[in-house]
């Protein structure tokens, strides 16, 4: 650690950043030294990317200081951060599809001669960078034709092609194969050898232990630890990253659920010749749907919500059959969808909490009738939801958790019996997660029924009474949630033998 005698290249002092009500970073301090590959890790939503975006000039901290080489730096825009010597490979791809590979590589730092672009020099430089980084791409190729992996490689080349002292790589290896990761490792080590500082954001333990020398762990926006890699084991690092009591998150399940169907689904099919699913959702039950991404979970939920046409099959609510392909009919029968994309599909971001909730009961009012408001009802619901913000506040300014609560409040006000919930706590911070689980459980305790899709297996296991596992559009397993394990569910999701007629 000879480098420690000098001053740190980058120093963050007590930086905080909030988005609306959601505190993404709470007083984080961190120092990065020259000649170091510094891993920044933590769970999803720990604040890793936000922290790096402060350095990249995308966000400005609400409080705290950023120092470069001991001097306070104002990095208000990405262009300024670059000029200050910070080069960033963002997690989101920023390749422009209508530019050539060479143009993308040099974007924002084009070579000019006499005020005009020096196209020949630009191309020569691009060829050099591609050669040096060992990335085999034709500089004249239009980037719209690149695959995601190729785009990521180009992002990396772009990040390396810079006169920077600090390099940030935010989850650069997601779309890369093994050989490409090895290649990246070599490039990072070369930077380290030149005395540069590399911030490497990742939650892949293997990569962190392979080529990083220092690790910083964040959790829920706060700094947990910064340690040399030698001082840590994989288990020790994981403990730093999680260290949260999962059990306390979930409310208790009811001991037994009477056999009263809220929704009977028979031979529901998303495509004319595809597999059909049958299951029964009982009153008082939270039924989960697990599976790998894109195995038909979404289609099942969307067909039940009437949002997507169905090809055969029947759906019966408590009293009547529900016609296909009509959201309006589904809602009339007391079935409501809480979509995954709350901002795009669920909420009116510019309207207040009150207006968003009030849309629920409005559904039962004929169009030509006056729509008197009942502020007391909204207040009661907001209280029940634990919404502590004034009801006049626009929903767009709320945190993910509060948005989910507002959406839930709308359907409770509309008096629905069945909730279809996609990714109930995506983008919701931990504190609000527990509240949402509690609210969902209360809804079923009062006789409602919930069908929940989630990619988060521990969440399904903790929250549900029963879990269906889907694969290739068919139901392959139906297991009680109590006592289920992630391994067991994953096993069903991956294995090939089918139990598609397993019904409740």
């Amino acid at each position: 650690m000879a480098s420690k005698q000098r001053q740190p290249l980058v120093e963050l002092r007590g930086v905080s950043k909030s988005f609306g009500q959601n505190a993404a970073l709470k007083g984080v301090s961190l120092a990065g030294w020259p000649g170091s590959i510094h891993a920044v890790t933590g769970e999803n939503g720990a604040g890793k990317s936000t922290l790096m975006k402060l350095l990249a000039g995308v966000h400005v901290p609400d409080s705290g200081e950023i120092l470069l080489k001991g001097r306070p730096a104002a990095l208000g825009t990405p262009a300024r951060a670059r000029r200050a010597g910070i080069s960033t490979v963002f997690q989101e791809l920023t390749i422009l599809p209508n530019l050539m590979v060479a143009e993308n590589l040099c974007l924002g730092r084009e070579l000019t001669r006499g005020g005009l672009l020096d196209l020949r020099a630009l191309r020569r430089e691009a060829v050099q960078v591609l050669e040096r980084t060992g990335i085999a791409l034709n500089p004249d190729r239009l980037c719209g034709t690149l695959t995601v992996g190729e785009q990521q490689l180009l992002e990396i080349a772009k990040g390396l092609h810079s006169e920077a002292d600090v390099f940030i790589f935010d989850e650069p290896t997601a779309p890369l194969n093994r050989a490409e990761v090895d290649q990246l490792e070599g490039l990072l080590r070369a930077l380290k050898g030149q005395g540069k500082l590399v911030f490497y954001i990742s939650h892949r333990l293997e990569e962190i232990f392979r080529f990083c020398d220092t690790v910083t762990v964040l959790k829920d926006g706060a700094h947990v630890a910064t340690q040399p890699i030698e001082a840590l084991t994989q288990e020790g690092l994981v403990a730093l990253m999680v260290g949260r009591e999962l059990e306390a998150l979930f409310p208790e399940r009811p001991a037994s659920i009477p056999d009263l169907p809220a929704l009977r689904v028979e031979r529901l099919a998303a495509t004319p010749h595809g597999p059909a699913v049958s299951f029964t959702l009982r009153r008082g039950e939270i039924l989960g749907i697990a599976g790998l991404e894109g195995q038909g979970q979404r289609e099942i939920v969307r067909m039940l919500a009437g949002e997507q046409p169905r090809h055969g099959g029947e759906v019966h609510a408590a009293t009547a059959a529900i016609p296909p392909g009509s959201v309006e009919a589904a809602v009339r029968h007391g079935i409501a969808l809480l979509p995954e994309d709350r901002k795009g599909e669920g909420l009116y971001l510019d309207l207040s909490i009150e207006d968003n909730i009030w849309l629920g009961p409005l559904r039962q009012t004929a169009l030509w009738r006056r729509a008197p408001r009942d502020p007391a009802l909204v207040r009661r619901l907001a209280e029940r939801m634990g919404l502590r913000t004034p009801p006049a506040q626009p929903v767009g300014s709320l945190s993910g958790g509060n948005q989910q609560k507002a959406m839930l409040g709308r359907w409770l006000a509309a008096d629905v019996q069945v909730l279809l919930v996609e990714q109930p706590t995506r983008g919701v911070d931990v504190g609000a997660k527990a509240e949402i689980y509690e609210l969902l459980r209360r809804f079923t305790a009062e006789g409602g029924a919930i069908l929940a899709v989630s990619g988060d297996l521990p969440e399904l296991i903790g929250m549900c009474d029963r879990i269906l596992v889907v694969r290739g559009g068919a139901i392959v397993a139906d297991v009680p949630a109590h006592g289920a394990t992630e391994e067991q569910l994953l096993g069903h999701a991956l294995r090939s033998e089918s139990l598609s007629e397993a019904t409740a």
């Binding site: 995308v58 990405p78 422009l96 530019l99 672009l117």
Partner: protein
């Protein structure tokens, strides 16, 4: 990728083919079309549209639209008609273009006003101003300007030279300057461009300024050709410039387009007008056809050129 993508020029065989087909058709059927006098008229007729459309191209590349170009032309001609000195007319018209472009650009880029609303507002504002400056067509254009717009240089008609100069200038800026490169970047994906250190707002303002200055000069050109100012001179040009740009394969959603395409689009519109004259069709049919062509051009635009 099995199909050949037109890349970021937006040129397809339709954009290039339409003017060629029109030329062949007219040359084959109308003897008058081939007369030198008609060709001279033709270059004069399309000159103003070409200059405006090349301005509109820049705004379209950053996914904007400028409906105020017509009013800028009218006001520029009204101002020119009140100035005795040619340089004063040019300087005032240029200043007008810079001011209007800056207002449009700042409104769109900084205040976040939708381009349609922003430029429709300035269009209305400037149209009113044009009637204040010059209530009825008339006034006098400095003779030097008239000569510059109608004369000949070494046997080549001046309008043709102006067209060439405009196309060359636009082409140079688009291909050989950082500003040009950044126009494509911003049009491709503003956020990605921003993350790559492109000053998105400055680029957008620059595009609108370029467009308005082009419109002001087009107004001067047209006024000089008829030797008078007219407060309604540019009325039809806002939509015609958009139609020409769309016919030229420029994506109205930004990021794809070329000078060659705009030239092709302007030629198509101009040939159509010229052809209708020669065939003796009512000039009002021109509006009907322009509208139909604009709709066809926009509907035929592929959403996903170069994977955007």
């Amino acid at each position: 990728m099995t199909t050949k993508t037109p890349g970021r020029t937006g040129l397809t065989r339709y954009t290039v083919g339409l003017p060629i087909v029109l030329v062949l058709l007219l040359a084959a059927t109308q003897a008058d079309f081939r007369s030198p006098q008609n060709l001279l008229n033709f270059s004069g007729q399309i000159g103003a549209l070409l200059i405006v459309a090349l301005g509109q191209l820049f705004v379209t590349l950053v996914a904007g639209i400028d409906l105020s170009v017509g009013s800028v032309m009218s006001l520029a001609s009204a101002i020119a008609a009140t100035q005795a000195h040619p340089l004063a007319a040019v300087a005032l018209a240029t200043a007008l273009g810079v001011a209007v472009g800056a207002a449009n650009g700042l409104g769109v880029a900084l205040a976040g006003v939708h381009p349609l609303v922003m430029t429709l507002s300035t269009a209305t504002f400037l149209q009113g101003l044009a009637y204040v400056v010059l209530p009825i067509p008339g006034g006098a254009i400095a003779p030097a300007l008239g000569a510059a717009a109608t004369g000949q240089v070494a046997g080549i008609p001046a309008p043709l030279l102006w067209c060439a100069a405009a196309a060359l200038a636009a082409s140079l800026v688009l291909r050989r300057t950082r500003f040009g490169a950044h126009l494509f970047a911003v049009g491709g994906h503003p956020r990605s461009a921003y993350l790559n250190g492109v000053r998105v707002q400055a680029v957008v303002v620059g595009a609108y300024v370029w467009c308005s200055v082009a419109a002001a000069w087009a107004g001067l050109f047209l006024a000089a050709r008829v030797s008078a100012g007219d407060p309604a001179l540019g009325a039809s040009y806002a939509l015609e410039s958009v139609a020409a740009v769309a016919l030229g394969g420029v994506q109205l959603t930004g990021g794809v387009g070329s000078v060659a395409g705009v030239v092709a689009g302007v030629l198509s519109l101009g040939l159509m007008t010229n052809g209708l004259n020669l065939f003796g069709v009512s000039p009002f049919m021109r509006g009907v056809l322009t509208g139909a062509l604009l709709l066809a051009a926009v509907s035929l635009q592929r959403r996903r050129i170069v994977g955007m």
